[in-house]
């Protein structure tokens, strides 16, 4: 079993590198939330970002999604250096983020939520049929099953809501999708549905980053596991070649290289 060497590229990866973050540092006062962290996202690959609480996972996602700006470090998108100063910059590049709270309006139906803030309209009249057609096509292509897409989101299950939030992230035709804890608080069957959806994102050629606490989910869905520990790189593994013990060891910092 290969021990986790910080920032070591995993071998055998094909596909184009869509996004790479190099030497990212972010301090909050005396606390170094991120300390020289590297990350590489490849088209058609699911990367799981794991680490203990306070390891810097959320901070790193916020840096890439433009919610915060790092103190130092570079981000390359499609090989070119880019500056992501605010969420809008990330969206314009093609980086979509699904936050843990999903940001859905529970009183609105699935169609309205998918197109929230980006409604198809003419003279400020909504073009309901176009939006409903596009919604049905998108959900069908992702194999998301919802009986009545005209019912308020409040009536959907947790897994369906997560699926709606993820589907919405795809409307702008992004190249990178960041998912923050997509399976937290979901039951077994719903977790399986959402993980299936994550695989379909990969099959579409998207670069997917999943933050997760659940190592079983991580092993089930990811191609690569990136570990953060106390704001530093603590390992970059190919999921298929790595045991759960090795990942746990990297997360906790134990010298138990299995």
């Amino acid at each position: 079993m290969k021990a986790g060497i910080p920032a070591a590229p995993a071998d055998g990866v094909q596909g184009e590198v869509v996004l790479s973050a190099r030497d990212i540092t972010k301090r909050y006062g005396a606390v170094r939330a991120l300390d020289g962290v590297n990350l590489r996202l490849v088209a058609g690959e699911v990367v799981a970002l794991v680490g203990d609480n306070g390891a810097g996972k959320s901070t790193l996602v916020k840096v890439i999604s433009g919610a915060i700006t790092p103190d130092s470090g570079e981000i390359f998108f499609g090989g070119r250096p880019v500056r992501i100063g605010r969420p809008h910059d990330a969206q314009a590049l093609g980086i979509s983020t699904v936050y843990q709270d999903l940001a859905l309006c529970e009183n609105l139906d699935v169609v309205a939520n998918l197109f929230l803030g980006a409604e198809t309209h003419r003279w400020s009249l909504l073009r309901q049929l176009r939006m409903e057609r596009a919604t049905r096509d998108l959900l069908a292509s992702l194999d998301v099953r919802i009986r009545d897409i005209r019912a308020p989101v409040a009536a959907l299950s947790g897994g369906q809501r997560q699926s709606v939030a993820i589907s919405r992230a795809l409307l702008g035709e992004p190249r990178v999708v960041l998912l923050d804890e997509p399976t937290a608080a979901l039951g077994v069957e719903q977790t399986a549905q959402v993980l299936d959806l994550v695989r379909r994102l990969r099959d579409r050629g998207l670069a997917v980053l999943v933050i997760s606490h659940n190592l079983a989910d991580v092993r089930a869905v990811s191609d690569r596991v990136v570990v953060l520990r106390l704001g530093r790189d603590a390992g970059d593994f190919r999921t298929a070649d790595t045991s759960q013990e090795a990942i746990v060891a990297a997360i906790t910092g134990a010298e138990a290289a299995a």
Binding site: P87, H88, A103, L104, C105, E106, N107, L108, A112, L116, G117, A118, E119, H121, S124, L125, L126, Q128, L129, R130, E132, R133, R136, L139, A140, D143, R145, I146, R147, D148, I149, R150, P152, A154, A155
Partner: protein, 399 residues
């Protein structure tokens, strides 16, 4: 995909309707049931209650406060409150009367300028709420007192200004549709409703979207026609359909269409449902909030003008006493959620119908005002209880 296997929109089964109630979407069902109970109870206790004359009076009483309640529905959709609508309605009525009677402006211009003044008042409320971050409760509580003060100042020592009885403003409340015109309106409204639903169905078929069976569209149009025909038949038994009722009804329908089919309407629901999600989706939450307060104040002003027209005068109690409370209670009783994002303008219509018929029925029975207040309070408490219970039943709605 399951949604595509059948070409029909799934019809809600009885079990599903019950589930929708438990799931937090009670809709208009409790109100319609309540109206039926009111009609049966008061109708059996007093022969006069269901008479054409009394129902016509009811229709006349509804329009002004109902229009104010429409504005309340809009701010409630945001999860906010506007306590100033009563004062603003009175102020707008006074401004219109001063321009019309004292300045001698044409009636139409006086009405437009007064509505503009109401819109400015709403703009001020909206700016204080959004830019200064003051709670809407406090902003509009200040408005409640302040605009009442301005009303008294404008009225000066006179206290009362009469509108000329034969003037066009007063005429609005004394205009009745001739029978042929009211029946033509029933036919036109029904035909428009059926036609647009059939056109929509054809467009959905072309876009390969699931559709409702034609029979159901026809049944719905027939139900609408039956309700409208019943109203027209009853009102024609007395003086005819009052113009103010037509104005109020048209405002309800137009506002409902605007809320459901325009960008700002959709965004009002979005901000009311989850302001943070709306903000992240790029919607200007501030602008939507200001728009809602402007709309609420303008509709309150329109209600005030209707009230002035009905009374043929404005005085120091215009827009005062319990108008504010009735308007808010009507919006809530009609099914608008106090917690934002849920409700339709029809709530104002249904709610004011419930409140006015309860009040009217008890007046006919010579019930003491002490009892009337307590009964009205009980109806309001019941409506809010239904709203709160439904909200708790919604997933994640326990806050």
């Amino acid at each position: 995909m399951t949604t595509e296997t059948s070409r029909r929109i799934p019809a809600p089964r009885p079990a599903e309707l019950a589930g929708r109630l438990r799931g937090g979407e009670p809709g208009a069902l409790p109100v319609v049931a309540g109206l039926a109970v009111i009609a049966v109870v008061f109708g059996s206790l007093n022969d006069h209650f269901l008479s054409a004359e009394n129902l016509t009076n009811l229709a006349l009483q509804m329009a002004a406060t109902g229009t104010i309640a429409l504005g309340v529905v809009i701010v409630l959709l945001l999860g906010e409150i506007d306590l100033s609508v009563g004062s603003v309605s009175g102020l707008c009525g006074v401004v219109m009367t001063l321009l019309y009677v004292k300045q001698g402006l044409p009636a139409g211009l006086a009405v437009l300028l007064a509505l503009g003044a109401a819109a400015l008042v709403g703009l001020l409320h909206g700016l204080m709420f959004t830019l200064l971050g003051m709670p809407s409760f406090v902003v509009t509580l200040a408005g409640l007192i302040g605009w009442q003060g301005l009303l008294l100042y404008l009225l000066g020592d006179e206290g009362t200004i009469n509108l000329p009885f034969d003037g066009s403003v007063a005429k609005v409340s004394d205009t009745w549709l001739p029978p042929w015109l009211s029946w033509l309106a029933v036919v036109a409204v029904t035909a428009t409703a059926l036609g647009s639903s059939l056109l929509d169905r054809r467009a959905r078929t072309r876009a390969d979207l699931p559709v409702r069976p034609i029979a159901r569209l026809v049944v719905r149009a027939a139900l609408l026609a039956a309700v409208l025909a019943a109203v027209v038949a009853v009102l024609n038994g007395d003086r005819g359909v009052p113009l103010t009722l037509v104005i109020f009804g048209a405002l309800v329908v137009l506002l409902d269409l605007a809320l459901r089919h325009t960008l700002p309407g959709r965004w009002i629901y979005a901000v009311g449902g989850n302001a943070e999600a709306a903000r992240r989706a790029g919607i200007s939450v501030t602008r939507i909030r200001i728009l809602a307060f402007v709309a609420a104040a303008t509709l309150a002003g329109a209600g005030g003008i209707l009230a002035a027209s009905r009374l043929s005068a404005v005085n120091q109690s215009s827009g005062g006493s319990d108008i504010l409370l009735i308007a808010i209670a009507a919006a809530v009783i009609g099914g608008t959620s106090l917690f934002g994002g849920r409700g339709r303008p029809y709530a104002a219509l249904l709610g004011i119908l419930v409140l006015q018929s309860v009040t009217n029925g008890m007046l006919l029975l010579n019930v003491d005002s002490s009892v009337r207040f307590m009964v009205t309070a009980a109806v309001l408490a019941l409506a809010v209880a239904i709203d709160s219970t439904a909200r708790r039943a919604r997933p994640g709605g326990g806050r």
